[in-house]
Assembly symmetry: none
Amino acid sequence: MTKKELKRESIIQAALKLFSTNGFHKTTIPDIAKSLGMSVGNLYNYFKSKDILAKEIIKYTSDILGDEIKKINMLDMSSKEKIRKIVELYFQMAKEKPEMIEYFLRVYLSHREVFDDGCEGMICVSSFVTEIMLFFDKGVEGGELRDQDFFSAFGLFMGYLGGMVFLKGESILPKDLDEYIDDISENIYNALKK
Amino acid sequence: MTKKELKRESIIQAALKLFSTNGFHKTTIPDIAKSLGMSVGNLYNYFKSKDILAKEIIKYTSDILGDEIKKINMLDMSSKEKIRKIVELYFQMAKEKPEMIEYFLRVYLSHREVFDDGCEGMICVSSFVTEIMLFFDKGVEGGELRDQDFFSAFGLFMGYLGGMVFLKGESILPKDLDEYIDDISENIYNALKK
Amino acid sequence: MTKKELKRESIIQAALKLFSTNGFHKTTIPDIAKSLGMSVGNLYNYFKSKDILAKEIIKYTSDILGDEIKKINMLDMSSKEKIRKIVELYFQMAKEKPEMIEYFLRVYLSHREVFDDGCEGMICVSSFVTEIMLFFDKGVEGGELRDQDFFSAFGLFMGYLGGMVFLKGESILPKDLDEYIDDISENIYNALKK
Amino acid sequence: MTKKELKRESIIQAALKLFSTNGFHKTTIPDIAKSLGMSVGNLYNYFKSKDILAKEIIKYTSDILGDEIKKINMLDMSSKEKIRKIVELYFQMAKEKPEMIEYFLRVYLSHREVFDDGCEGMICVSSFVTEIMLFFDKGVEGGELRDQDFFSAFGLFMGYLGGMVFLKGESILPKDLDEYIDDISENIYNALKK
DNA sequence: GATGAATGAGCTTTCATTCAT
DNA sequence: AATGAATGAAAGCTCATTCAT
């Protein structure tokens, strides 16, 4: 990685953090620059606009999540076990790098104006969606999961997990996320199994 | 309803529409006033700030959704059938009054700054959450649903349905929402049943 | 004239003065607002952008100049005498309201980017150009002026007068503008006469 | 010419082109550097500021135009013929190297702030003005042109030609510039002749 | 000579909110 | 209740210029 690439990534991470924590509109470019100890003008040498930065962040996040799920996909275990692994992964991320999951929920999901141009459909989250699709297809092929519309399954998976993290973020959940892993894995498995 | 209450509601509806369609920050108070043919100053006679208006809208929306679910709750039918009814209701709303569901997803969910003060926890959506809770408790009491943490069940319900409507809104779903009703109702039932 | 129209015009006049004196880019919106004792935001209630303001100014200026030439056109005198009247008018304006002529030369003429959209061709200066055209056509009809391409004549008139005012503005002319009236009127007449 | 002088000139030409085409303020130093394939920092080794570059360009342009008129001045022909030659030259330049004429009209003429310091009066265009003056004086000496104030004649010449090129640039002229040569030469001659 | 990342002041524009009428 | 002109802080973004390498 060149110096420039490293700096680019550090900007992405700083912005990811701020956008997730304080909201997209409440976070200003000077805020991001200041948090990095760099000047506003220089930040614009790396990303031509706030919107473009937002789009690069969702790709970055999707890639990282996708890579992690890929690792799970490559393991030699049942779909049931993989479901649990994915739930664990998701919640672990929500604890360790909450900004990534929050970014999905609070920035990507709800600022259509920003992502409409350049992230149509699922372009910017394809690396993540693809892995979920692979997981599901394998489970169906292996005869473990019921053969249903992919989106019915995808919506369940992502909506459910996202919903739980949202509830956690709102301080609504009485218990730690980890304590829901059993229930949720079971629910998802029951919903998808043959 | 007094004249004043009627006008209050018409403001809520106009703002709901605009916030959902164009985003919270992209919608200005003058925009709302103009769409109602009233003056900015007068609008402030009804709602003291944009944030307060946003909070009133989520309560209004939650009440309407809650009322509808209440009707379902009062029907004499199995939990399995009720699940289907709720899914149908949700998707029907998403089609007929998309602004309500979109408001949940695109405004309430993602502007913590706005709702933090006054809508802590689930205060502003309690009428809706309460009905889901009633549905779930009855199902458990009746021995039809597995006795699990309420939030595990609630997250599934709401995350799943919200997720599907989001996918639809992004033009990602290949089929009409209605065509997913069977799959989704079945998945939810399988996840929650004893 | 309503109060609002009066304010609109006062903005045009203030901006005209500043743009002409200090240049279009060197004049900021806060500069204009301050010179009027009004707020920046309120100025935008009258003109939606700096560019639009610039275009309204050229129309305003063109109208005023056009009206003055119209008065000359309606006089019952020879083309030779009218030429002198127009030269006098132009120089008088350059002395009394130098900002108008300067605006033509220093703002309109040289900021294509600004006027390209909305002032194509001569749209925004048509009231002025039209009167020059009328003057010329009458002179030709009356047999006093040579029948030549209008633009050959228009370029002479306007380029010449504009050029003189420019030279004056650059403090290049050793004498007062008035002292050139004889020479210039004669030159123009000699150039255009039959 | 040394290597350094060559590079200097190539910068002048690139900047001339860009300033004329896109405007002085719309053209950035990075734009110029990029069009030359050189670095911003290095460009500053040749010209200490954007304003200084702008002033060097007008001198450069004026020299080239002056040289061409000098050639005409040295020809053995009547003032009438020379006028035509000058008009032809001007229009030919406007066609072949439009950036030069445009630079006069759109940059030099209208950015007083830039040229005020260092190009007072006609310092930076003296090589061009001098030749026009020589042409005029010879014509007067030779008894062909009327003896009038030089600036009355100069304003006619330059304002007229500049005006025509401006009209052409605005796509207002219905015909090609060349087709106006006869009319314009005749008009100028009639205006200046004894 | 040559590079280009870095600076930061300054610009245009927006908009929630107020208040005199 | 109703109006809408007015406010002004704050946002996103630009760009001439510098300087460490």
